[in-house]
C-alpha cells in the first residue's frame, strides 16, 4: 500500500483533471486578483500618516483599547508609571528593548525582563506585560507583535494587562502594508510567531453578550510616541 501523502496527491491530481468554472465575479473589474498594491475596496487606512493616526484612534476606541499619545519618550515613561500606580500593579514583566527599559526603570513595583527562559507561573502571576511591536495597522486598529518584538509568545497574552510601547512611525495604513513589511524585514527567517492583536481578549460565547478578558488580557494600552 502506498503512503498517505502519495495517495492524497494522486487523488488531488486526478480530481483536478476537470477544470472548474471561474467564479461569477460581480464587480466586473479588470483584475480582481489580490496584489500587494493598495486595495481600494477594503476599509480605509488613510492616505496620509495623519489620516492614518485619526483612523487608528477611532478604531482603538471602538475596540475598547486605550491609546495614550505622548510627545516624547520621557512622557511615555511618565504615563507608564502613572498607569502602574493607578492600577496598583505589583509585578510587571517586560521584553528587554531600548523602548521598554526606560519605562520599566520608572516603576516602583517589581519589574522583570521575560526574555531569558522563565517560569510560566511567574508570568501568569504578573499584573502586566510590556512589549514593543512590529507595526500598527491604522485600518483595523491591529497591533502586530512577534516572538521577537514581544519577548516570545506568552508575554503579550498571559499577563492580565498588555501594554505596548511604539513610535508613531510604526503605524502603517493597512494589513497588506503590515504583511509586506514583515516579509521585507524577516524574509525567510520569520519569527516563529506573529500575531495581530486587535483589542483586548474578548468572547461572546454566553448569549452573544460581549465580555472582555476571556483568556488573554482584559485591558490593552498602546503608548504611542510622536
Amino acid at each position: 500500500m502506498s503512503d498517505a501523502r502519495t495517495d492524497i496527491f494522486a487523488r488531488i491530481r486526478e480530481a483536478l483533471k476537470v477544470k472548474a468554472p471561474t467564479p461569477h465575479l460581480k464587480a466586473q473589474t479588470s483584475s480582481p486578483k489580490t496584489s500587494v498594491a493598495a486595495k481600494p475596496w477594503l476599509p480605509d487606512g488613510g492616505e496620509t500618516a495623519e489620516d492614518g493616526l485619526l483612523i487608528l484612534a477611532e478604531q482603538l476606541a471602538k475596540l475598547k483599547a486605550v491609546l495614550i499619545r505622548v510627545p516624547d519618550h520621557a512622557s511615555a515613561a511618565k504615563a507608564f508609571a502613572e498607569l502602574a500606580t493607578t492600577k496598583s500593579w505589583k509585578k510587571v514583566a517586560y521584553h528587554g528593548h531600548e523602548l521598554t527599559r526606560p519605562l520599566a526603570a520608572t516603576l516602583t513595583c517589581e519589574a522583570w525582563e521575560a526574555d531569558a527562559s522563565f517560569d510560566k507561573q511567574k508570568l501568569e502571576g504578573s499584573d502586566a506585560g510590556l512589549t514593543t511591536c512590529e507595526s500598527i495597522v491604522a485600518q483595523l486598529g491591529s497591533i502586530l507583535v512577534s516572538s521577537r518584538s514581544s519577548g516570545g509568545r506568552a508575554l503579550s497574552v498571559l499577563p492580565h494587562v498588555h501594554v505596548v510601547i511604539a513610535e508613531a512611525s510604526q503605524v502603517v495604513p493597512d494589513l497588506g502594508a503590515a504583511l509586506a513589511l514583515v516579509k521585507a524585514r524577516h524574509g525567510t527567517d520569520m519569527p516563529s510567531m506573529l500575531s495581530f492583536i486587535t483589542g483586548p481578549s474578548r468572547t461572546g460565547d454566553i448569549e452573544r453578550i460581549l465580555v472582555l478578558g476571556a483568556h488573554g488580557p482584559k485591558e490593552l494600552f498602546l503608548i504611542l510616541v510622536g
Binding site: 492524497i8 526574555d115 510567531m193 495581530f196 452573544r208
Partner: protein
C-alpha cells in the same frame, strides 16, 4: 447512520415548534446583524472585496497539488513535522501516537472543527488522555456532553442559568447570572491547564504556501496560550485551507471577522512558522501539522461544487439561514451545520444518507448572498438534489419523471391527454371549448 433522516425530521419538528427557543436564538443573532452591517459599511466596496477573497481561494484550490506541496516544503524548512491522513482514523492514530511518544499527561485544545469531524476527543479519552477544550463555548459544550450548536458560536443556544448550573455542578462555583462572572470562572479554571499541559492542539484557518506559516483566527486568546505554553503543538487542518501568498490574508482575515462575527478583525490573528526558534524564550519544542483529506478530494473531483472547498468557516450562511434559525444547529446531526453543512456533508459522508439536508433549504439564497468567498450555496443544494435523483431515484421519481418525459416529447399524446382531461371534468366550472394550444393556433396561424 441510516436513521439520520428520521432523527433530523424529529428534531427539526420539535425545535421549529419551540417559540421560546427560537426567540432566544433570534435575539442572540440580533447584535451580530447590527455589527456586521456596521463593519461591512467600512469596506469601500464589499462586492469587490468578495471577488478578491473568492479568487484567492479559487486559485489555491484549483492548483491544490502545487500549492500544497509548496506549503509543505516551506513548513518543513521552518522546522515543523508534516503528517498526512487519508481519513479520520488515520488522523486520530497520528495524534494518538504523538501523545503516546510524549507520554502526555494533560492535553489542552483550542477550537478546531476538524477535530470534531474526526471525533478526536473521544479517541484521546478512550486511550486514557485527559483533554480539555479551552474555547469558552467549546468548554461549555464539552461539560454538557453535547456537540457544538454552531461551528462559530458553539453554545449560543444555552441560557446563562444553565451555564451557571453546569459550572456549579462541575467546578463547584457559586451560582451567578452574570455572563462576565461566568466567563471569569472559566478563565480562572483554564489558566492553570495551559501551564500544566504537555500538548496543545489547535486547528488552522489558513495555510500560507509562500511562507509555510499557519494562520489561526480567534477572539479569546486561548489558541495563543495553547500554542505558547505546552511543549508540543499539534495543528490539525483540512488540505483545502491552503492559500498562495501571505498577502491573501490582507483580504481574508478582515472578511472572515466581518462576515463571521461583525468585527473589523478578530482579537488574535496569529501566524506560526515552526517550533521555538533559536534565541526565542518560549514556545513549543515540537510543531506538528496533520493534513487531512477525509473525502475533501471527493468534493474536489466535482468541478460544479468544487467552490464549496473555498469555505473559510465564518458561519455567515448559518446566521442568515431561515432554516437554521428555526430548527437550530443540533438538528442537523453534522459537524458543519447550516447551508454549508447541508452542501458538503453529503459529499463527506454519503449522498444517500444525507440528501435530506438538500431539502433543508427554502432556496431563498440568503446564504449565497452572505458568503464572503462567493460559494454558490443554494444552487449546490439543488445540484445535490439532482445528483441524488440520478444516483438512486425513488419510485415516484422514476414513474413521474419518465412518464412526464415520455408525454412531453410527443405533442399528439399531450393533446389527447388534454382532451381526455377536459372531457372528464364536467363537475368543475365550465371549461373553455378550446384548449389554450388550439386557441393559440387559431389566433396565430
Amino acid at each position: 447512520m441510516d436513521n439520520s433522516k428520521a432523527i433530523f425530521l424529529k428534531e427539526a419538528t420539535v425545535n421549529a415548534a419551540d417559540g421560546v427557543q427560537r426567540a432566544f436564538i433570534s435575539k442572540a443573532l440580533g447584535g451580530y446583524y447590527t455589527n456586521r452591517d456596521l463593519q461591512k459599511a467600512r469596506y469601500r466596496d464589499w462586492e469587490r472585496a468578495r471577488d478578491a477573497a473568492s479568487m484567492a481561494k479559487w486559485s489555491a484550490v484549483n492548483d491544490l497539488a502545487n500549492v500544497l506541496e509548496k506549503f509543505v516544503n516551506n513548513f518543513e524548512r521552518n522546522g515543523g513535522v508534516v503528517h498526512w491522513a487519508r481519513d479520520a482514523a488515520e488522523a486520530r492514530d497520528i495524534i494518538l501516537k504523538i501523545a503516546e511518544n510524549a507520554k502526555a499527561k494533560a492535553i489542552v485544545k483550542s477550537k478546531c472543527m476538524t477535530s470534531e469531524e474526526i471525533h478526536l476527543n473521544d479517541a484521546l479519552e478512550k486511550a486514557g488522555f485527559g483533554v480539555v477544550e479551552s474555547d469558552l463555548g467549546e468548554f461549555i459544550q464539552q461539560l454538557r456532553g453535547e456537540a457544538p450548536y454552531h461551528f462559530v458560536f458553539p453554545c449560543m443556544h444555552v441560557k446563562r442559568e444553565a451555564i451557571s448550573e453546569l459550572f456549579t455542578k462541575h467546578l463547584g462555583t457559586a451560582p451567578t447570572d452574570s455572563p462576565e462572572e461566568l466567563t471569569m470562572i472559566a478563565r480562572r479554571h483554564l489558566r492553570q491547564l495551559y501551564v500544566d499541559a504537555d500538548i496543545g492542539i489547535t486547528g488552522a484557518n489558513f495555510l500560507v504556501a509562500e511562507t509555510g506559516q499557519i494562520s489561526i483566527t480567534e477572539n479569546e486568546g486561548n489558541a495563543r496560550l495553547t500554542a505558547a505554553l505546552p511543549r508540543i503543538h499539534i495543528a490539525l487542518s483540512g488540505i483545502e485551507k491552503v492559500v498562495n501568498e501571505l498577502d491573501d490574508l490582507s483580504v481574508l482575515l478582515p472578511m472572515l471577522a466581518t462576515a463571521g462575527a461583525g468585527q473589523p478583525m478578530t482579537c488574535y490573528n496569529t501566524l506560526y512558522s515552526g517550533p521555538r526558534k533559536k534565541g526565542e524564550c518560549d514556545g513549543p519544542e515540537e510543531f506538528h501539522i496533520v493534513l487531512l483529506d477525509n473525502a475533501r478530494t471527493r468534493l474536489l473531483a466535482d468541478p460544479e461544487q468544487r467552490d464549496a472547498l473555498h469555505c473559510i468557516r465564518c458561519g455567515a450562511c448559518l446566521n442568515v439561514c431561515p432554516i437554521f434559525k428555526n430548527i437550530g444547529g443540533l438538528a442537523y446531526g453534522t459537524t458543519y451545520q447550516g447551508p454549508i453543512g447541508s452542501v458538503i456533508t453529503p459529499h463527506l459522508r454519503g449522498l444517500k444518507q444525507w440528501n435530506h439536508l438538500s431539502g433543508a433549504s427554502s432556496l431563498c439564497g440568503a446564504c449565497t448572498d452572505a458568503c464572503p468567498v462567493r460559494i454558490d450555496l443554494h444552487h449546490h443544494l439543488l445540484h445535490n438534489r439532482r445528483n441524488a435523483a440520478k444516483e438512486s431515484p425513488t419510485f415516484f421519481d422514476r414513474v413521474f419523471h419518465n412518464g412526464f418525459n415520455f408525454v412531453i416529447k410527443r405533442p399528439w399524446l399531450f393533446a389527447i391527454g388534454g382532451r381526455i382531461f377536459r372531457a372528464t371534468l364536467p363537475l368543475l366550472p365550465k371549461a373553455p371549448a378550446q384548449s389554450f394550444r388550439d386557441q393559440w393556433k387559431h389566433d396565430h396561424v
